[in-house]
């Protein structure tokens, strides 16, 4: 955890403490602070904007109610993403959705990406569609959100060894399926262990 992470965690803890006293302004700050990251994280589970909003609100409803019970055993972000992950799985089960099912609605952002970003997005999408939901979540948590293996294990409530295995297999699949840089063909396929 670098200095920026430590500062961010200290701020989050302060906000949680205020939330435990019923401070709605603190809730609003924390909500806005995590919203973008949670949307991207949950977009690895579902493409439905309404479901994502529902999960984020369930997550912060729980955080609001349990703020006083946060004892600082982990970073606040680890705690919040753990709640969001469990809420996400629960909501998807209630909706009867398979993770990352797109219902065809245009909830996507208008296409104003610069060319390179759009190309990167498409490139990533090609790879992620070959991964399981848990593998996509691990990739997001490690590469996107910068969590450690231990953090991911706490978030997904599984052993560190399981996280390592998911990350390993996700990387192998991505390596074998993603087109290489600058129009090169995909890297030669290797056997999985």
């Amino acid at each position: 955890m670098n200095d920026a992470d430590i500062d961010a965690d200290a701020t989050d803890r302060m906000l949680l403490q205020r939330m435990s006293g019923g401070d709605r302004a603190a809730l609003a700050v924390l909500y806005r602070s995590y919203h973008g990251r949670l949307v991207r994280f949950l977009s690895r589970l579902t493409r439905r904007a309404d479901v994502i909003e529902e999960v984020i609100n369930d997550c912060f409803w729980i955080a609001w109610q349990k703020a006083s019970g946060f004892h600082g055993d982990s970073r606040v972000s680890t705690w919040i993403f753990g709640i969001a992950y469990r809420c996400g799985l629960k909501t998807l089960r209630q909706h009867g959705d398979e993770p990352v099912e797109d219902d065809g609605r245009e909830d996507r952002m208008p296409s104003h990406d610069p060319g390179e970003d759009r190309e990167l997005r498409d490139w990533l999408a090609k790879g992620l569609k070959h991964l399981s939901a848990d593998q996509r979540v691990v990739v997001e948590l490690v590469y996107g959100l910068g969590h450690t293996l231990e953090d991911v294990a706490v978030i997904m409530q599984c052993p560190v060894g399981t996280v390592k295995a998911r990350l390993f297999h996700a990387r192998v699949k991505l390596r074998n399926t993603l087109p290489a840089l600058a129009g090169e063909p995909p890297l030669q396929k290797e056997k999985t262990p």
Binding site: M1, N2, R24, L27, A28, Y31, R32, H35, G36, V39, R40, S43, R47, A49, I52, E53, I56, N57, F60, W61, W64, D107, R108, M109, D113, D117, L120, R121, W123, L124, G127, V139, E140, V142, Y143, G144, G146, T148, L167, R171, V172, L174, R175, L178, A180, L181, L187, E190, K191, P193
Partner: protein, 210 residues
């Protein structure tokens, strides 16, 4: 870099380190080692470039539009109206608990009644096992062994005339236990008449416990 499992240990080590170097969480010594290895290994350089690209791609802002302000409004409204959304599950739980408690009470009551009834019956059991001790014979009881050839009508007539009632038997030797009615004459007289009756092989008063 061929693959972490079937190449040299250095490439496998490089594969392990890459995500954490990209995160900036790997120890400095590991970062430096990886840098040196990448200089020497073209395959790992390619892989590392791919990993860098993956990290950039994953870190792009979400491409799904979810309105944070609207979401926050919904959340605050939910907090402001907890009775509607959040107490109903609790009240459902409460009713469920009450129903369960009622069911347990009814069950306990039923078990109690059944137990009392069984206890009561056990005081006057409808049947008796061979291992149980014999019931004490009533006052004035007589063991009577009728002859095998004695007709049922004669046996019934004799009992009727002497105002006797069968309360047990026949046992292994064919003996019945009979008791005289309450207002019957002296037991000795009854016993004497029994012994004198045709078809009666034995008539003996039942010895009562001291």
């Amino acid at each position: 870099m061929k693959f972490p499992m079937d190449v040299g240990k250095d490439c496998a080590r490089a594969w392990e380190i890459m995500p954490w170097t990209l995160q900036g969480s790997a120890p400095q010594a590991q970062d430096e080692w990886l840098t040196r290895h990448l200089v020497e290994c073209e395959s790992c350089r390619t892989e590392f470039a791919q990993q860098q690209r993956l990290r950039r791609a994953v870190a792009l802002p979400p491409d799904i539009a979810v309105d944070a302000d609207a979401g926050l409004r919904h959340l605050l409204a939910r907090i402001d109206a907890p009775d509607i959304q959040e107490t109903s599950p609790r009240s459902r739980t409460s009713w469920t608990m009450r129903a369960l408690v009622a069911a347990v009470l009814v069950q306990a009551l039923g078990i109690g009644v059944l137990g009392a009834r069984l206890w009561s019956e056990s005081q006057h059991p409808a049947y008796r096992t061979l291992s149980q001790p014999s019931l004490p014979a009533p006052q004035g009881a007589i063991h009577v062994v009728p002859d095998e050839a004695m007709k049922l009508a004669d046996w019934n007539a004799l009992l009727h005339s002497l105002r006797l009632r069968v309360v047990g038997g026949p046992n292994d030797v064919g003996a019945y236990t009979v008791v005289p009615a309450a207002d019957t004459a002296a037991p000795d007289d009854t016993l004497r008449k029994l012994r004198a009756a045709h078809g009666i092989r034995l008539a003996e008063p039942v010895a009562t416990a001291p």
